[in-house]
Amino acid sequence: MNRRTVVKAAGAAALLPWLSDEGLFAFAQIQKASAAPALKTLSAGEFATLETLAEAILPADDRSPGAREARVAEYVDLLLSEAEDDVRSSWRAGLAALDALSQQRFGAGFARLDAANAETILGELAKNEKEPKTPLEIFFKATKNATIRGYYTSEIGIHKELRYLGNRFTPVFIGCHTEDGKDCPHCGQKAVL
């Protein structure tokens, strides 16, 4: 990362007192990781609901961080800002309906539910996910798909979660070790049948 891209990434850097290169870099990192997002479509409340939902679909676990740290909700907010009107309004209606359901069941918006109550609600929404029928089921499936796309195309999803090993210089492809006449430690196939 050179100075120029840092300045660009930081955005607000022009308003700041002069920082060293290291300082600017650190600022950009803060922006990247935990700064409040500049929302394009959703209200802060809608964003909180979406972010909670995305994290519930792909949560942090022992192996890697989840959708919140991968900033999936910000990705959806950006794409919604550039989607057709009916797509945008369907999504907002879905977020509102999720909050309404959560309010009705447990007396609080979805973002404030404890884990057990959130799971109860999502279990219902995911029940028919192969063929979603109700608006809320359809909303859940759409959000799940968008969360999958946003998460597994993020740095966290590709490198920390999947530990994908491609897109690097590999002068000779190794493949299954049986191709070189050896037993393969990855799949257990024998060199010779």
Binding site: A83, I138, I148, G150, Y152, L162, R163, Y164, G166, T170
Partner: protein
């Protein structure tokens, strides 16, 4: 946040292209040969002729390409907050469609152009494919992918480098349908060999009639799921072989623009080190270095000009894409390599008084026999030996393996003639598409995605579409493109043979996945829309009889002795093989005829 993947600055290359175009005017210089197009056909034609000392003018409808900058081979999806998707208005088909995650996206209005979406809708290739609004088509739906830029579709081609064999050249002798090619595999084999050596082809010797062997460089090994699949279907007498890729894995001689494959993947975005065959680095730039090739970008060829007295071409008419000037360039020979359908369109639009139905169309069959491959029938499943294992590097290669055709080779299927092949493989790719199919949410869902991620295996079929006279293109009598040229009208649909074949493809892919013990097998039996294969051929078919063919066996028009076709338009039937390697070999053969006839002053 700024999206650097959308801010690719093309001003320098477009400005260079404008200046280059403006510097080349008719009458300033004499050319022996005009070549229309700069893709696989135009590139090979230019290379062959320029290297033989022949003065060539290449006319490309689009701009030049800055391949080092525009081939963003190793860019990660997270380089952009949009993850390679484009905002509305940035797409080549800018109908404000936005295929945001289904079910809210997926507007049926755009299904017709779904394939075009996939090229026009990502940040890597959208600058090369045409805008559908400027280049409409009429008639039946056809996903006609066109690239107007130096190198054409070779900038993002699929790298399948397969030969036609006796099963294609003598197809009619075997099953009695339609006609044989006027030439045989033995006529083209030496040219396939030369193409392999010149451009580099990765593969293994298999000794199969269905896909003849070549002169191969280092092949790409199979990964764990694929070895298991290969061993499983071997018991059924079927083959599963490393893909044959038009990629140099061991280097090519005397080409300073290319180095050997480094196994990075993402080849379809353009290979920035030139290991993948692309017409510019492999053919056009070396040809230009000879001093015999002049390239004029932004030159839309609208028709071949014909001397009414002699029935010979005198040159071509060009509209400059920027200035909209009409320019007539002259030469002794015209070689059309605009791509099967645009070449056909140029001929149909060339209407001298002597042939008002189109140049080369005295037979009336120009535009007929449009053929390609039926696709979309595919199967997937999880190969048990990799379920729950840690990720390995499974996709560091330019192509996945291949199940050669097994139908109607030695046996005879009761329901259909000809055949199909499958391409595909398994293992851990960059994006776990499987996640969309796994039910649930939360930690259990997340761990299931990584459990199945390295084990997903899938195969997709390519089936021969029988050449039929009624599958045709013609000029639309009313609609014109943005430059006033009549657009193509398609009358094209899959027939009974294709649909029966498609059903069998679904059955056999399921049968093979079951033989491999795959879990959670899913079969898609619905064909993709016509045109999806981008393997269009046949609309100016070759033959010995001028009454039933457009070109002779050297791809020269029966009706105009100095007009040649270098692309797939003269191909009689297309088997199941990907088309590019045959275009390259056939073009080389055709150019040998051109060279010889120029030498003997016949041209």
């Amino acid at each position: 946040m700024a999206d650097t993947t959308l801010e690719l600055d093309l001003n320098a290359i477009t400005e260079d292209s404008r200046k280059l175009a403006a510097s080349i005017k008719p009458g300033k210089q004499k050319y022996d040969v005009i070549i229309v197009g700069s893709g696989a056909a135009g590139g090979m034609a230019a290379f062959q002729l320029a290297m033989a000392g022949i003065k060539v003018l290449m006319l490309e409808a689009g701009r030049m390409i800055d391949h080092r900058k525009e081939y963003r081979t190793m860019e990660w999806p997270y380089s952009s907050m949009r993850r390679t998707r484009l905002p509305p208005g940035e797409r080549s088909i800018d109908v404000a469609e936005y295929n945001f995650d289904r079910p809210y996206g997926g507007n049926p209005v755009y299904q017709k152009n779904a394939k075009l979406n996939s090229y026009a809708g990502n940040t890597f290739t959208r600058n090369w494919v045409v805008n559908e609004k400027q280049h409409p088509t009429t008639g039946t739906p056809y996903a006609w992918v066109r690239a107007r830029v130096m190198g054409g579709k070779t900038n993002f081609w699929g790298r399948g480098a397969l030969r036609y064999g006796p099963l294609q050249f003598d197809a009619a002798s075997r099953d009695g349908y339609d006609v044989d090619w006027p030439i045989r595999y033995a006529d083209v084999k030496p040219y396939y060999d030369k193409v392999d050596v010149l451009l580099g082809c990765s593969g293994t010797m298999e000794n199969l009639d269905t896909v003849p062997d070549g002169i191969f460089q280092r092949p790409h090994k199979l990964n764990c799921t694929e070895v298991h699949f290969k061993r499983s279907i071997a018991k059924m007498g079927r083959h599963y072989i490393p893909g044959r890729a038009g990629v140099t894995t061991e280097g090519v001689l005397n080409n300073k623009y290319r180095v050997k494959c480094m196994g990075r993947g993402h080849c379809g975005r353009g290979c920035d080190i030139g290991a993948n065959f692309h017409s510019p680095t492999a053919l056009v730039y070396p040809a230009r270095d000879s001093g015999n090739l002049t390239i004029r970008p932004y030159s839309i060829v609208t028709e071949v000009l014909v001397d009414p007295a002699g029935g010979r071409a005198t040159g071509v008419r060009v509209i400059d894409a920027n200035t909209r000037e009409t320019l007539d360039f002259k030469a002794r020979v015209v070689v059309l390599g605009a791509g099967t359908l645009d070449t056909t369109r140029i001929l149909l639009n060339s209407r001298p008084t002597t042939s008002p139905q189109g140049l080369g169309n005295s037979s009336g069959i120009l535009g007929c026999h449009l053929s390609e491959h039926i696709m979309g029938i595919r199967g997937s499943g999880f190969i048990p030996n990799r379920i729950g294992t840690e990720t390995t590097q499974d996709d560091a290669r330019p192509i996945s393996p291949y199940v050669p055709r097994f139908r109607n080779v030695t046996d005879k299927h009761p329901d259909f003639i000809r055949g199909y092949h499958f391409q595909g493989g398994g293992g851990a790719g960059e994006y776990p598409g499987v996640a969309h199919e796994i039910p649930g949410f939360g930690k259990g869902f997340k761990s299931n995605v990584r459990k199945y991620y390295p084990s997903l295996f899938s195969l997709g079929g390519f089936g021969e579409v029988l050449p039929r006279k009624e599958n045709r293109v013609s000029l639309d009598p009313e609609i014109k493109d943005a430059w006033g040229v009549p657009v193509l009208r398609f009358d094209y649909q899959f027939g009974d043979n294709e649909l029966k074949m498609a059903k069998d493809m679904g059955d056999t892919v399921e049968e093979m996945l079951r033989a491999a013990g795959a879990e959670d097998i899913k079969i898609n039996r619905d064909p993709l829309p016509p045109g999806w294969s981008i393997h269009e051929i046949g609309t100016a078919r070759m033959g010995n009889d001028p009454k039933t063919s457009v070109t002779d066996s050297t791809c020269r028009l029966h009706d105009a002795k100095n007009v040649y076709i270098a692309d797939g338009a003269p191909f009689v039937s297309g088997g199941t093989q990907n088309t590019t390697w045959s275009i390259l070999a056939m073009c080389w053969r055709t150019m040998d005829h051109v060279k010889e006839r120029l030498r003997t002053k016949e041209l």
